[in-house]
């Protein structure tokens, strides 16, 4: 009797812990090898872009928190920067410093989730607990600044909502001192782990050409050897004042994408240390009209979020509500190459590849 052989369809998600949210991939398998992958996003779609059309410019800010909820400060920043450019508002220097401080803290928090989740996806729950222990301290700092841990809504058009509270600067400095030691811990626990290395090295290789072709950005792009970081390439805010490097890795495999984030966290620490040392006094809000009514026109601005290039496109018709808002969400665009990337790899590698891309479904589905 002949053995009947056929392809097997496996639904991964939408409620799979390793998809980092409600994301579904329909995998067609030949044995354990992926023949075809069909990503199905959209389970967390709330229509934020459409909701924004019925809100005033300030009222959109809490909704941007819900894009990439792991780095809501950066999402706020991307949006308010676009409105400021549209209205031609000059942000006070202290506000810019505060934005850099909280923005880089958010980047560290986001990378900590990516690092820890990558470890736990591959079976090492210990690493996850260690990164979340330190992320908690960043969230405590955010809570001090704006009253919320995740959905910050801290930035306003023309500055930030409130000045830094008393005790923030010493607490942040203390955290940074501890965090440098923690990074060594992650390297010992996760990076140096042979099992982790075997699961990730030379898995899901992404070539530099393909990454550029697919307009991928952020750590995913830089791990393939393309040194493209908006903070250096097209500097915004006050980033030119700080000394930092853009870490690069050249293999473009899962391990490089993971390790690049660890290296980036160390760079973010450097930026925050410099910003805290030279924090100027002054107002935290520019003088803005009571009702925000940008002139008719359109604007597109970008920032380097923790996942890649976060772009905001606003069309204004001169009324107090935006005519159209569009967000270029880096997770969504980075996800565009997933189907191609996982083809030919085993089911277990799909988890590693998806974890190394570091997607957040709030941002993917928007």
């Amino acid at each position: 009797m002949a053995v009947r052989q056929e392809e097997f369809v496996l639904n991964m998600g939408p409620q799979h812990p390793s998809t980092h949210g409600v994301f579904r991939i329909v995998l067609t398998l030949d044995g354990e090898t992926v023949v075809k992958a069909d990503p199905v996003p959209g389970y967390l779609h709330r229509g934020i872009e459409k909701l924004a059309e019925a809100r005033t410019y300030t009222q959109v800010i809490p909704y941007t928190d819900r894009l990439d909820y792991l780095a809501s400060m950066l999402m706020n920043w991307g949006y308010v920067q676009a409105v400021e450019k549209l209205m031609g508002i000059e942000v006070p220097l202290r506000a810019e410093y505060i934005r850099v401080i909280v923005g880089e803290l958010a980047r560290i928090a986001s990378h900590l989730v990516a690092t820890g989740a990558m470890a736990s996806d591959l079976g090492g729950l210990t690493g996850f607990l260690y990164t979340f222990r330190d992320r908690e301290e960043i969230l405590d700092l955010f809570e001090m600044v704006c009253g919320s841990r995740l959905t910050a809504s801290y930035m306003r058009i023309g500055g930030v909502a409130k000045d830094l509270p008393e005790g923030f600067v010493p607490k942040a400095k203390e955290f940074l001192k501890k965090f440098t030691l923690s990074l060594a811990e992650y390297n010992g626990l996760i990076t140096g782990n042979e099992i982790f290395q075997r699961r990730t090295k030379n898995v899901g290789i992404l070539s530099a050409e393909k990454a550029v072709d697919m307009s991928l950005s952020g750590p995913v792009l830089r791990a393939s050897g393309v040194g493209h970081d908006l903070r250096k390439v097209r500097p915004y805010s006050i980033y030119p004042q700080f000394e930092f490097e853009v870490p690069l890795r050249t293999n473009g495999d899962c391990f490089d994408r993971y390790y690049l984030r660890v290296l980036e966290m160390a760079e973010s620490v450097k930026i925050i240390e410099q910003a805290l040392a030279s924090l100027p006094e002054g107002p935290v809000m520019a003088k803005i009209p009571r009702i925000i009514k940008p002139p008719a026109g359109e604007v597109y601005t970008e920032i380097e979020s923790s996942k890649g290039i976060m772009g905001v496109y606003i069309v204004s018709d001169g009324s107090p509500k935006p005519y159209r808002v569009h967000f270029r969400r880096p997770s969504f665009i980075n996800l565009g190459y997933l189907a191609e990337m996982v083809r030919g790899w085993k089911v277990a590698d799909v988890v590693a590849i998806l974890g190394s891309l570091d997607i957040v479904l709030g941002e993917v589905d928007c």
Partner: protein, 177 residues
């Protein structure tokens, strides 16, 4: 050597094992919350001037405010805060010019019944008291005005008499000259 990295990782966890715990036993032990914490909202009826700015600031139409005009003064008769739709962004408290709306540190917002989620801040006694106060104030104001008017009238009458007297005196003096 294969396994060296594993041992290094185990050493880290072993060192960690003998350090104090990071977590706390939640319901009994609670971590301190910062002053800016956005928990359950609180409304101060007496401070509110019914300007409707919180209603306009809310991105999600959480707040409903009903007013009544008594003696040309707006009085808040109802203030609903539909907490289930709240984003806890704090824009309403930021918009309030009188600090009548504040977010407390209470974060345990679970309720047994759905209708309890919607917060009703104003009770009828408060409204009745406020109305009485406004009426009283209006009456007092009116009385004061009447009194003042009467006084002014008296004063002007006195003044007139005085000026007439003076005029008469002046005329007399002129006659003497």
């Amino acid at each position: 050597m294969f396994g060296k990295g594993l041992l290094k990782g185990m050493k880290i966890t072993m060192v960690r094992f003998f350090k104090p715990k990071e977590t706390v036993q939640y319901p009994e032990v609670r971590l301190p919350l910062p002053d800016r914490f956005l928990g359950k909202p609180e409304f101060y009826y007496d401070k509110c001037i019914a300007c409707n700015q919180c209603v306009a600031a809310c991105p999600n139409n959480v707040i409903t405010l009903k007013t009544e005009t008594v003696e040309k003064k707006k009085i808040v008769t109802q203030y609903y805060f539909d907490q289930q739709y709240c984003l806890f962004c704090g824009l309403c408290a930021e918009a309030c010019p009188k600090d009548a709306l504040k977010f407390t540190k209470d974060f345990e917002l679970t309720q047994y019944k759905r209708q309890d989620i919607k917060l009703k801040f104003v009770n009828p006694e408060q409204v009745a008291k406020k109305k009485a106060e406004v009426l009283q104030a209006a009456l007092e104001k009116q009385a004061a005005q009447e009194k003042q008017a009467a006084q002014e009238k008296q004063a002007s009458a006195d003044k007139q008499i005085a000026s007439e007297k003076q005029a008469a005196g002046n005329e007399a003096a002129a006659g003497v000259c």
